[in-house]
Amino acid sequence: MILDEEVFAVILAISIVASAIGIAMVLAPEIPEPFMSLGLLNEECKMGRYPTTVQNNSFVELCIFVANYMNKPVFYRVDYKLSEDGSLPTNTTPLPVKPISSWYGVLNNKENTTIPVKVFVTTSEPRVVLVFELWVYEPSIRNWKYTGIWNHLRVNVTVRLVP
């Protein structure tokens, strides 16, 4: 026999499997599990060496990283809040205090941005939590929606000594 039947069957099976995988890759969505991410970086816009102590009534320099992998452009907002009792938001409920600052932006799919920010800390507590929450604008409800994504930084607050 010139062309062995079993060899021919194996080659045909390989081509069928390769074809099925190719079709699946062409028809699959760009990002199978859409997500967004929020990162908190130090004043050099790098991870680590976060400030542990801040002076009361002063600004703290940090950076915020936002990435969009939602398979669509998003209009996002990052809210900065101060938690004086140590409470944190959850993945369903934002912190029930008013934001002190907000930063807005639009990101295309598979795009990210790093924003240098200066956040103001004023409190009567010796230890507070700087909370950053990620919200996105939902065109279907024409309102902002909390994504359940947040970052926080616990800091000690010192009082500036007036000479």
Partner: protein
């Protein structure tokens, strides 16, 4: 008179959280609402395969203008973006059809590979097999 004073105090206490709220200027809120609507349209265009990177960049510029207090410039640029969107919407449908057709043509091509292998491989193999042995001389 006492009743009026009490009512005024109660009203003042009830509205205190409003005055304590962080101030988002009405102009900024107006710009952001319009940006939100535009992003809704961008979602639909992106789904149809239109490249919206340029419009996203323009929107970020508008946000920077609005947050720095330059409302007039922000609104003017918003109008430019809306005009650009109207032009893009005309071609969005044809782009969507073109991308869909090319995607399914590619799927059809990949799906035909096993059929081609089944029909063509034996013929090609036999042709090569005979080509290699064509000049053999068989000696008894």
């Amino acid at each position: 008179m006492t009743r009026v004073i009490v009512v005024l105090i109660v009203v003042a206490l009830l509205t205190l959280p409003v005055f304590d709220a962080p101030v988002l200027l009405a102009e900024q809120a107006d710009v952001y609402i319009q940006i939100g609507e535009i992003v809704g349209m961008l979602e639909e265009l992106y789904r149809k395969g239109v490249d919206v990177a340029g419009i996203v960049k323009d929107l970020n510029t508008i946000i920077q203008l609005a947050s720095s207090g330059n409302k007039g410039e922000a609104l003017a640029r918003l109008e430019q973006v809306k005009n650009k969107l109207r032009e893009v919407e005309y071609v969005a449908e044809s782009i969507y059809i073109t991308k869909t057709v090319s995607k399914y043509v590619l799927v059809g091509f990949i799906a035909s590979i096993p059929i081609v292998v089944y029909l063509v491989l034996p013929r090609v193999y036999l042709y090569l097999w005979y080509s290699v042995r064509k000049r053999w001389i068989v000696r008894w």
